[in-house]
Symmetry: D2
Subunit: 409 residues, 4 copies
Amino acid sequence: MARSDDDRTNSLGVRLDTTRKLTLDLAAPLSDADATIQPHPDASPAKWHLAHTTWFFETFILRDHVPGYRLHDERWPYLFNSYYEGEGERHARPRRGMISRPSLDEVREWRACVDKALAASLPSLPTAALALIELGIQHEQQHQELFLTDILAAFAENPLEPTFGAADAASCYSTEPLAWIDGREGLVEIGAPGGFSFDCERPRHKVLLHPHRIANRCVTNGEWENFIADAGYRTPSLWLSEGWDWVQANSIERPLYWHDDGSHFTLAGRRLLDRAAPVDHVSYYEADAYARWAGARLPTEAEWEDAFACSDPMIGHQLDTAGPVLAKSGGGPFGDVWQWTQSAYLPYPGFATEAGTVGEYNGKFMCGQFVLKGASCATPRGHSRASYRNFFPPSARWQFTGVRLARNA
Amino acid sequence: MARSDDDRTNSLGVRLDTTRKLTLDLAAPLSDADATIQPHPDASPAKWHLAHTTWFFETFILRDHVPGYRLHDERWPYLFNSYYEGEGERHARPRRGMISRPSLDEVREWRACVDKALAASLPSLPTAALALIELGIQHEQQHQELFLTDILAAFAENPLEPTFGAADAASCYSTEPLAWIDGREGLVEIGAPGGFSFDCERPRHKVLLHPHRIANRCVTNGEWENFIADAGYRTPSLWLSEGWDWVQANSIERPLYWHDDGSHFTLAGRRLLDRAAPVDHVSYYEADAYARWAGARLPTEAEWEDAFACSDPMIGHQLDTAGPVLAKSGGGPFGDVWQWTQSAYLPYPGFATEAGTVGEYNGKFMCGQFVLKGASCATPRGHSRASYRNFFPPSARWQFTGVRLARNA
Amino acid sequence: MARSDDDRTNSLGVRLDTTRKLTLDLAAPLSDADATIQPHPDASPAKWHLAHTTWFFETFILRDHVPGYRLHDERWPYLFNSYYEGEGERHARPRRGMISRPSLDEVREWRACVDKALAASLPSLPTAALALIELGIQHEQQHQELFLTDILAAFAENPLEPTFGAADAASCYSTEPLAWIDGREGLVEIGAPGGFSFDCERPRHKVLLHPHRIANRCVTNGEWENFIADAGYRTPSLWLSEGWDWVQANSIERPLYWHDDGSHFTLAGRRLLDRAAPVDHVSYYEADAYARWAGARLPTEAEWEDAFACSDPMIGHQLDTAGPVLAKSGGGPFGDVWQWTQSAYLPYPGFATEAGTVGEYNGKFMCGQFVLKGASCATPRGHSRASYRNFFPPSARWQFTGVRLARNA
Amino acid sequence: MARSDDDRTNSLGVRLDTTRKLTLDLAAPLSDADATIQPHPDASPAKWHLAHTTWFFETFILRDHVPGYRLHDERWPYLFNSYYEGEGERHARPRRGMISRPSLDEVREWRACVDKALAASLPSLPTAALALIELGIQHEQQHQELFLTDILAAFAENPLEPTFGAADAASCYSTEPLAWIDGREGLVEIGAPGGFSFDCERPRHKVLLHPHRIANRCVTNGEWENFIADAGYRTPSLWLSEGWDWVQANSIERPLYWHDDGSHFTLAGRRLLDRAAPVDHVSYYEADAYARWAGARLPTEAEWEDAFACSDPMIGHQLDTAGPVLAKSGGGPFGDVWQWTQSAYLPYPGFATEAGTVGEYNGKFMCGQFVLKGASCATPRGHSRASYRNFFPPSARWQFTGVRLARNA
């Protein structure tokens, strides 16, 4: 191995350690029971996230690339495979909350064993395996965000309103006035330019932008209150047909976790709404209806990406250390809340899945979902980039999802 | 009114008569009971189609533009409004099959009255109303197609397998060999170039095409049998995640209306599959899985539209006269089956809905649906054009929906 | 055959004719479409009742006992068998409303053919077959009542509120004052004493009655209004646990078919409530809650049967001729409304099912249902008797079901 | 207070201690996570049982009868009230598994505080409160049984098959031959004769028994295997209509927890079926179908009670100490498995609920349930008696429910 390879491996090892440790830190405030429950079928138990990310490394690195490695427990892959058909049968997703054993401590022990084996094998891994470690780190970062949104969903189910941690009251930042940035027009390039990316961000390719403008900041809680006060949730003409059905079937009247007394439930417990902060926990349906109410529209993913391609994705309210993250005012495009786009999550021209089981990573979800851009307060710093394509179904609300407006020019 | 206006009005009147008559002809073989039942919540009773298209003209032309017009029956708009929130409360869609009264004959009588009032008012209608008549004609043509697919769905529910009409056995056309047409690359224009179009086809705008090729014809029943024989419906790696869930939850093993003995149910009753004819009644999930199995993909809507922008949409196996339509071999891009694209049904750059209630026509469905291009054997001839954007959810199968493949070049 | 046998056969033939004719009369005001629709899975289309009762005779008499008889149509038994597992596969009950063919006229023609064959075969039928004809008559009478309740349910779905026929406004009978009849105490006999009975009414057997009193008449609409006004539907302590769940899940606020303006929907259309008439279309849950509110309870089936064993079941507001029946004031125990008892529908001591497929008639439903006694305005006169055991699940409301109170003495 | 009252109070205190301690012992092998999960809406988390039984004492004794008592935590009654409408709003039953806080240890601490307060208040409690303590003990014993059946249900969801404890392999008892005991005929008395009883067992009253015989023992696993081998689960004529629907809708092929390899899952893990032991975890539907297959029937509750009125309910395989209970061969009427009767759970003649909120204890469930008699291996010894009326819906299988046959004589 050449020196630069060595360096790269060392750097990878450091990032692996940092990432693995942050996940453990996230779990620190949780009891075994907290970590076991599953609030709804789309959210997973905290313990499951700890285990699944470990399964990923054990399976695709240790089992596949380390001769003689023996699985920590042969029965656990069945429990902690998420959706990889190529890895065989697995435990039903909506029943993940039934797995009181192995305990949180046993899962932690598994993590320790796998981490040790990874560290030992790292210097001698083939390049293909190193790429999979990189993928595993990115994968674990995604689950760190899900860990936070899922434990928020779990605690929100408990009338005692447990807190994940304490946070200061919102500071008195005022909101930046809404302004419109002129977007570029004509042929531009989007997609991953190099460096790590998921398969769905590739290949980089040209797209045609039509004249448009994009908002300088996200919609705030205060602005959302105006939408509510103006009967936004009771005016069918503002909504997509499917969205209006959803509003009525679920008696939707405000963002998820909002109460009717001006407070909302957060990882730091019940708090007064910060009117200056970006609204979060809204669905695509709500984002789209709000935009229509505001005489605007949602941006396309290409418009968003081109607008912020030169912004530094390391800057913003993102996840640095374990704790009760919150969306705040004063941030930039990367952080606080993911921003819904009007673009369906579909393959880029020339898209090809990775070879092997990890090829199931993204491509098979390209149906019925919308792309979100940016990053949120729960996104580990370093994980985001302009070409990133997050995606969720239009009714999803338990993520930190918000709204940035756009307009035709 | 200038002479050319007169001519245009006359021509409109002729087309109105022709269209209204074809709907009646379609209903001719049906009993009152046939025309009343609703096979599933997404399909409507035949009688409802006759009534709803009449409601459209009575509401948006006669009520809104003919002074002194009195509604035929004030209680019927509640029954026959489809989804226009702006027109107020309406009968629940899944309960349309409960409306045994008014009878088919009473609905026919309503049609006759409305037609007479339309004919009388036509010469003096303002231009805006004439545009609404054009819209009403196009709207009724859409319902003619739905009439046929819905009555097929209804008859398919009956173990006695009623037929809508008799048809000759398939002729012995052999299938054209599959070939790949080179698509254009670079900036092209799509969208309605002029003439009548729905709002969702506008504005005409530039899109960027990437190198690609598109198939010269649709996938045939014979080819689909190969897919089945090769375990296509039992191989999860071929399917979108949502598609695989759908296959398993519904025990899907073959296209809708296929039996396991080489026959399928059609408007002409149970028939042997014509192996040379385009496969029909497949969902987006199936189309997508087939394409993956075939080492290809579905075309984008822009690729399809640009490829066939110069084809004559009047040519092909389409609906000319009432009868049991069937997909056949030997047709072109317009006819036999609608062709699924991989494009989500989303607004074009600069899209704006029509003013007023008719603005609910298309825009509010831009979520969770895929675009289909071309036309089918049930599409009234004259209704289709290259810019046409048909759309259905990915699980829909009761339309005449088929597959044309594409590939990256 | 002895003379008395001849007489008996003649008498049977007359009753068969009368019964078969009444069913046809009931269908007279219906269109083909009216007769085809199915308002909910527990109710059947009117046409289905005409066909099913004919299937019963064709199957169990003509097919089984008439040498050389050929089925009118071999495919129809699949459609019109109700629930007899012994007769093989059958059309799914919730899809009965999909059978637009055969038409009402074709079913009428089937009836005529079967009636003719029955008449021809009657003189030479073996005794066992004569007993099945008697069973078939009783069976058809049951379906006459269901015909009326099901067509009421169907018309109630139509916002146009079609009427089955015209009826006079309620006369001004005042209500008899509520009084309590002393029931007998000690060992009494219940169950069919002889004559025709269903298997579930047998064997006649002794039961022990505890001291009790039973109301002289049924609860009236006016009394029910008091229950509503006293928050009966909003007071959980009045309800069974399952009943309270049902009230909340279905937002129940009043009897089925009642509107909030003092009117209710009937076979004679929308009418003002007759405050003196027995309340009808209430569930067991409602009957039980009302009784608790009134400081009373529902009678047991034995208490009811013993109380009215000597009443003439031919007297009362029952079905004589086809038309829009209504519950009225001034009737006795047999007629107007079936009366819920607190007795679960269970086998009598020594109960045995009939041999053969008709043994599925009653026994297999002995779970999850409550017994109702008496008769209703939709019960054909001559069909009822004190030992009769009608039964429905506790949530059923679309029958003419009402309340007679009882008390411990 | 007279001496005998003192004695009675002392004895009550001892029984209270014993009962409270057994519940704690049952929880000993469980982790916080084990105790938190809820396997299905009808089963509760183990922690919930510990908390709910404590809530009962805190509410109905300490809060209502001990002046100055302050609730341990004012927010917990909302969480741990089961179904008492009189006690106000409460946490939704199907969401009990979301309550990761309070932790198992916090609930244990609550128990300790309440136990201490109970002990301190016991000498000075009024008689009415002493009766409620007795009720609370009986109530807690019921929850001890539910604790065991619910934790079995929870562990059965985990593919790792956790065990609640270790148990010896089945001893080689052979099964007693099936024999028929002649039941009494004529008027007998049933219902609670004195001593503690639940309201639903009262009043003691006369019933009439018809000639019958009852089996000397329960149906065994070995006999059930014969039923399966004889296509018992595939023969519709053996089943109630509702039972057959249940079999088909749920693909039922064997008792709950049986695997297809001759093993079943138990509190002691996966074990070979003990063919001599009573079959358990069967529904009423299965019990009824088995009886029909065996040419027998289920006993009525009166037949069962009269047959075993003189048997000592302290004798049998019941719960003495915490551990993995199992049904075994060689037991008597009280123990191993509850025995389904054909009697619906309905009020006895003269039944009256208790005054106050505890009056919701039993009466409001008298609909849609069947009575079970005897006791099971999970019933705390001392809790059962001949007049006891256990009850469950006909589809319930997660209790230790089995079958004793009866016959007409």
